[in-house]
Symmetry: C2
């Protein structure tokens, strides 16, 4: 049945999967009584997969999670926003541990089954007392409906909460994946200030689940860039609470279906991060094809996606293809001008390296007024391709980041 | 005599060296009758050294110059601003050649002794007729005083013209170096949209002169960054018209003195480029010491210098040292938090990884109101050091680049 092969977006976010509850409260870290403390709870032990920032100053909670990931199963994720608990030394580590210990005590689960995440300002001491004081009311308000409050409690400068869920038949069973995420500065491959938490009813052993998560993240969160910076706090965690009937044992067809479902879920969240990039007024999908190989395509695509001159041109709705060409040339990949076909959405502006004229450019200029843009570069060097998502660089980006702490 | 070892800044720019004349006119490429065509002329054949962009789409004039550089001596540099003659295909190459041929004819010098440069908008056809029409009046107005007009004619979005000259005793002789340059977007190591022309009365063979220029540029133009982009048109050319008495034959003491003089001249121009970076309100000198080696120091320094979050914090006069730490962690170099000493000008804010408190931060915030800032990072890993100059990232940067062509 063809219909069954499709994946469907469903309601419910992180708690769309049976067995998961969540909640969010205002603990007083953020001003104005905004939600700033979230919890995700699994009613039975989960297999956990995790990916962590490559920034060499890994924040305290991530160091703790890496330890917990080696030990056993997962039961809860406790997350605060407003303070990153990063570059906070021994006290930071003690605070991260205290968050895990107290959460475990209240929920009567093992400490090493609790994962901790923090996001916000770097290098200021975590207001741990506020967090510990709020933990009882946070735990007692756990519910299916609390997923949205959790999604809201983890955001910082984000302008909207980010949640999604998908389901699809994998073999005879309907597998679900739910997720929430937060952006919105420092988004870049290798997971800048970005948190994503995912739940699923699949049953896989730890190694295989970790491989699946790596594959899905490489095709989603690692393909977005906003300002090229990476942060000390980013992570993706996937909790799988599956019963036997949802078991995937080998890297066969069922595994590939699950990775596809996971990719769709991650990409759905990743695109929300881009749309909500700090100050972003446009989301730009950059599609490269015909490069020598995928690595070359990536290098060219990211060179375009990260160029400040290209990004400011998108903000100015300026069909400045010269800057795109300069960015291609700046990628380190050898490209002959005569093999460049460049499209803005459906409109081709450059054919085999030749500019198609002012009349066409006028069409492109009109197209650039859209909020979601597609830039397509087709080369003739091979079969390499890449898809990357980026934003424009706006006046608001500078305003937000020049004044973040004040 | 100690005094003789010093180098002195002198008046005169590109024509401070005897035997060089220059001029600038308005040929009509730019609107509003601004100067847009410059010439630098040597009254005798010069040894030439040159460095060119590493962007793989090298603009037509650069391809021509590379050929001329292989052939022989130099007599003139003809430069237009307002149009980069880049990504302009065969017609672009023909136009660049026409500029050389016509200049050679008018000045009665060999075509291959004429070097060509263009800067401005990429990928639009060069208005070659306007240039050729203006060549006779340009050539007939050559003079010693024309250096300043030449400096003015090569700028694009620059807000001030950039010229400098130094002299100093090298052995028994007083050697002079004069120079002009233009920025101001896309400044980055490997010479983004940046032109610099230098003259000297030294006499060196081509290979040695080229080595000296490489050394000097590595310590100056390659150590500045504004927006991380590189362009298709950048180059540095050095014309040396020296008589026998100014001869430097080997890489001994005289050579080292000359390289030092050349470095000072290049650095003087490079700092002007940073100060005039598009929309820049601050120039920030980043000094790294105690890194494992110079390469590590460079990686850390450039990671800080290029971070949009650090640059916007400087614009906001925000002592956001957390972002600096994140940028260090993002450099790919392993650094232990406990070895970080961080100074803003004379004020230490972080000692052995420990933040020195709000009172000190207040001093730093006051210091950040200065236009020229020093950020000093001292590590304990080795003897590696680096000096890098960057700008803040301002609202005007975005405004200028979003609206450049309109």
């Amino acid at each position: 049945m063809q219909r069954d092969l499709k994946f469907n977006q469903i309601d419910g976010g992180i708690t769309a999967v049976d067995g998961f509850l969540a909640s969010g409260v205002a603990s007083g870290i953020k001003k104005k009584a905004q939600l700033d403390l979230a919890i995700i709870y699994a009613d039975k032990p989960c297999t956990v997969a995790g990916l962590f920032t490559k920034n060499s100053f890994c924040a305290a909670p991530l160091l703790l999670n890496k330890k917990h990931l080696k030990k056993g199963n997962g039961r809860a994720i406790i997350v605060n926003s407003g303070n990153a608990n990063a570059y906070t030394g021994k006290q930071g580590m003690a605070d991260a541990k205290a968050m895990a210990v107290e959460t475990a005590l209240i929920l009567n689960i093992p400490t090493e089954s609790v994962y901790v995440a923090s996001t916000g300002v770097i290098s200021e001491a975590l207001p741990i007392k506020k967090i510990l004081t709020a933990l009882p009311s946070l735990s007692s308000s756990l519910s299916k409906e609390g997923g949205k409050r959790a999604a809201e409690a983890i955001i910082t400068t984000d302008t909207f909460l980010k949640e999604t869920a998908f389901e699809g038949k994998i073999g005879q069973r309907t597998v679900r994946i739910g997720g929430i995420a937060k952006g919105s500065g420092m988004i870049h491959p290798n997971m800048a200030t970005m948190l994503a938490f995912l739940t699923s009813n699949v049953a896989m052993d730890k190694g295989l689940l970790q491989e699946a998560l790596s594959e899905a993240v490489d095709a989603s969160f690692h393909r977005i860039t906003i300002d090229g910076d990476t942060s000390t706090n980013d992570m993706v965690l996937l909790f799988a609470n599956g019963e036997k009937k949802y078991t995937i044992k080998t890297k066969g067809l069922l595994y590939r279906r699950f990775v596809a479902l996971l990719k769709i879920t991650c990409l759905s969240l990743a695109k929300m991060l881009v749309k909500d990039g700090e100050g972003a007024t446009k989301m730009v999908e950059i599609s490269i094809s015909g490069a020598k190989n995928d690595k070359s395509a990536d290098a060219i695509g990211f060179s375009i996606a990260k160029s400040l001159l290209v990004k400011t041109a998108f903000f100015g709705e300026d069909a400045n293809w010269g800057r795109i060409v300069a960015a291609i040339g700046n990628s380190g990949i050898k490209v002959s001008p005569s093999e460049i076909d460049l499209y803005f959405g459906p409109i081709q502006l450059v054919s085999k390296g030749v500019y198609l004229g002012k009349a066409v450019e006028k069409e492109v200029t009109a197209y650039l007024k859209n909020k979601e843009l597609l830039l397509r570069l087709s080369l003739q060097s091979g079969l390499g391709k890449a898809l990357i998502w980026t934003t424009d660089l706006s006046l608001d980006y500078v305003k937000i980041n020049a004044l973040y702490r004040t």
